[in-house]
């Protein structure tokens, strides 16, 4: 790949907090080499300059929550050679997918003075529910090393090396003592995908599941352990109803217990 024909990188935002695309700015030391290798064509958090597509690589943040967004993602897909979703919102619907288990019209009546101005859909869904996705990068937020790996991989025409193993493996590799076994702290590490470097257990807290389900999650088995550790069924329900609530296995793991109307996690 020559400098004359640098691939175009576009970054697109849907319903989200911007934290994942800001991870790219957070790359600091690596940011200039990235800018050398790719033409950053659309990155509104960094620059107001916008270049037209088609894009060689589109990084998409956020979930689909409005009829307009559902159309916009189709246009982006049509204009992108490779499309990679970044973060829990784009990959599983995000925290806003809690609406999927509640009545959105009631929410809008409670929150907005003039709910009739709000154009929204009943669900928050992953980008992959709307268009084909070439790779899904997990995390709330994503981890910058993994983001650089994905960009490097697409530049090198290879599959990104992003393990789908459990958070436990990262605890063990870094020598963190298991908080679940040694302290009885409820932890989602065994059912959650690695990527964060096992951040929370290294600070003596259980995993919150920010990176979504690991490759082979066994939530029913972990549920038994969480109950044994003293969580009650509503607490087990709530621990799965966060950033990846709509990821299929976490959705199933939350179980039948429903959040009382108007009560979030």
């Amino acid at each position: 790949m020559t400098a004359a024909a640098r691939p175009k990188l576009g970054i697109f935002k849907f319903a989200s907090c911007d934290g994942c695309q800001l991870t790219l700015l957070d790359c600091e030391d690596e940011l200039l080499p990235v800018a050398d290798r790719v033409e950053i064509a659309d990155f509104r958090e960094a620059s107001s300059a916008v270049l037209d597509g088609p894009y060689d690589l589109a990084l998409v943040e956020g979930s689909i929550t409005t009829p307009g967004d559902a159309e916009r993602i189709q246009a982006i897909r049509a204009n992108a050679r490779h499309l990679v979703t970044i973060g829990a919102c784009a990959t599983a619907g995000g925290i806003q997918a809690l609406r999927n288990f509640a009545d959105v019209r009631e929410y809008t009546r409670v929150v907005y003075a003039r709910p009739e101005y709000i154009r929204t859909v009943a669900t928050s869904t992953a980008i992959g529910d709307h268009v084909p996705v070439d790779f899904e990068l997990r995390g709330c937020p994503i981890q910058k090393g993994q983001l650089l790996e994905v960009i490097t991989a697409f530049l090198g025409h290879r599959t990104p090396n992003v393990p789908t193993e459990s958070v436990c493996v990262e605890c063990k590799r870094r020598g963190t003592v298991c908080v679940l076994v040694a302290r009885g702290t409820p932890c989602l590490g065994p059912v959650t995908q690695a990527g964060c470097g096992a951040l929370c257990p290294s600070f003596d807290r259980g995993c919150y599941g920010c990176f979504g389900p690991q490759d082979s999650p066994n939530a029913p088995s972990l549920r038994g352990k969480l109950l044994e550790l003293g969580m009650d069924p509503p607490a087990v329900h709530r621990i799965y109803r966060t950033f990846n609530a709509n990821a299929p296995s976490f959705r199933a793991a939350a179980g039948a217990t429903d959040v009382p109307a108007g009560g979030g996690p």
Binding site: G175, V177, C178, L180, C187, G189, P217, S221
Partner: protein, 395 residues
């Protein structure tokens, strides 16, 4: 690394020959630690951190878990106070010595693009010489297994680290709730293959150690350490410690025809039943002191001009680890659990002429849902009729 004089002699004038046994008073233990440092070693051993006894650097004796023990059961581990000031009064913790000899992440080489070609730089194999202080009998057996895999396998980094290491063993004074080394034949008595072996003696109001010299390198660090010839009562007391520990194992494994039992039962319903509990989280394999599975990966930089090859701990519990031609060969948790246990306890004999299990119990304690391989084997043994005529481990 340390020169060994032809005959090592303790300050008392005692001859420190291999196999000789001596008594070290508790009050002289700091001098023993200091002697290890003076000999140029970096001492690593048991420390209390994050609610467990793990392995870390020992700078002075107060770094040791003085007066601590552990209570272990399937899926639980708790530190507890002892009613004495034992230095080694615990079973084994979550970590093993493999973190030093077979690090969880290790760079193997670096390659750089040059004019029309490329250059590979091997990773230097130099590094600190460690004393492993407090190696248990089961852990010596585990190191011997990993030696077979890596040293005999020609791994230069492992071989260099291992050659620099001095192993100070400790015969266990307590057995953990998940220990079963006695039934595996790997402990609790230290049976050779050590540089020094300590037995902590706490009885009769005197805190002391029996020290057995296991190698010339072990003898060479004892020059400046005040030792007395071991008395018959001290030798008897050390024997009693080991016998008591052996009799209080929390678990046991029946090894009778275990290879055939597991190899011939690939369709046993117990595999599906254990998979209902198994989290596929890989904690057992990470905690296991003999599990050696790893992945190697090339890590290129953004320019594509430089690439590093890294090795990291991996596990047969990951479906991606079983990937061939783009698809995992062991897609289901039953098949992966069966692969792990059958390899560890059965086909390991075919590969390495011994069991891959040393009976340390870590996979039982550190399984978040407390799956117990001794119980799984017993369950399969209880229904051995469920066999297939063909044998084989299946896919």
């Amino acid at each position: 690394m340390t020169a060994t004089p032809p005959t090592a002699i303790a300050p008392s004038g005692e001859l420190l020959s291999v196999g000789s046994r001596h008594t070290l008073e508790r009050s002289d233990f700091p001098r023993f630690l200091a002697a290890l440092g003076t000999a140029g070693y970096r001492v690593v051993g048991p420390i209390v951190r994050d609610g467990a006894i793990v392995y870390g650097e020992i700078h002075q004796e107060s770094d040791l878990p003085i007066g601590w023990t552990d209570r272990q059961e399937a899926g639980t581990y708790r530190l507890e106070r002892r009613n004495d000031d034992a230095l080694f009064g615990y079973a084994v913790g979550p970590q093993s010595w493999k973190k030093y000899l077979f690090p969880s992440r290790e760079r193997l080489w670096t390659a750089h693009r040059t004019d029309g070609s490329f250059r590979v730089d091997a990773e230097p194999t130099d590094g600190p010489a460690f004393v492993f202080l407090g190696v248990r009998a089961c852990e010596l057996a585990a190191i011997a297994i990993q030696d077979r895999v890596f040293r005999s396998g020609g791994d230069p980094g492992y071989a260099a680290r291992r050659a620099r290491t001095l192993r100070v063993a400790v015969q266990c004074g307590v057995a953990g709730g998940t220990c079963f080394c006695a039934s595996m034949g790997t402990g609790p008595a230290v049976g050779g293959d050590h540089d020094l072996a300590l037995t902590e003696l706490l009885g009769e109001g005197r805190h002391r150690f029996l020290v057995e010299v296991g190698s010339p390198a072990g003898a060479s660090v004892l020059h400046s350490v005040p030792l007395r010839p071991a008395s018959a009562p001290d030798l008897g007391a050390a024997g009693a410690v080991v016998a008591r520990t052996s009799a209080s194992m929390g678990r046991s494994m029946d090894l009778h025809q275990i290879r055939d039992l597991l190899v011939e039962t690939p369709e046993h319903p117990r595999w599906a039943s254990v998979a209902e509990r198994c989290l596929s989280c890989a904690n057992c394999t990470m905690a296991c002191p003999t599990c050696f599975c790893h992945s190697t990966e090339e890590v290129p930089d953004l320019t594509g001009e430089h690439v590093e090859r890294w090795r990291r701990w991996d596990s047969c519990f990951h479906s991606a680890f079983t990937e061939l031609h783009g698809s995992p060969v062991r897609k289901s948790t039953p098949s992966r659990y069966r692969q792990w246990m059958t390899h560890k306890l059965a086909t390991w004999y075919d590969q390495f002429d011994r069991s891959g299990c040393v009976g340390c119990g870590r996979c039982i304690t550190w399984c978040p849902v407390g799956i117990d391989l001794t119980e799984e084997v017993a369950a399969i043994r209880a229904m051995p009729g469920v066999r297939t005529a063909a044998g084989g481990t299946g896919g």
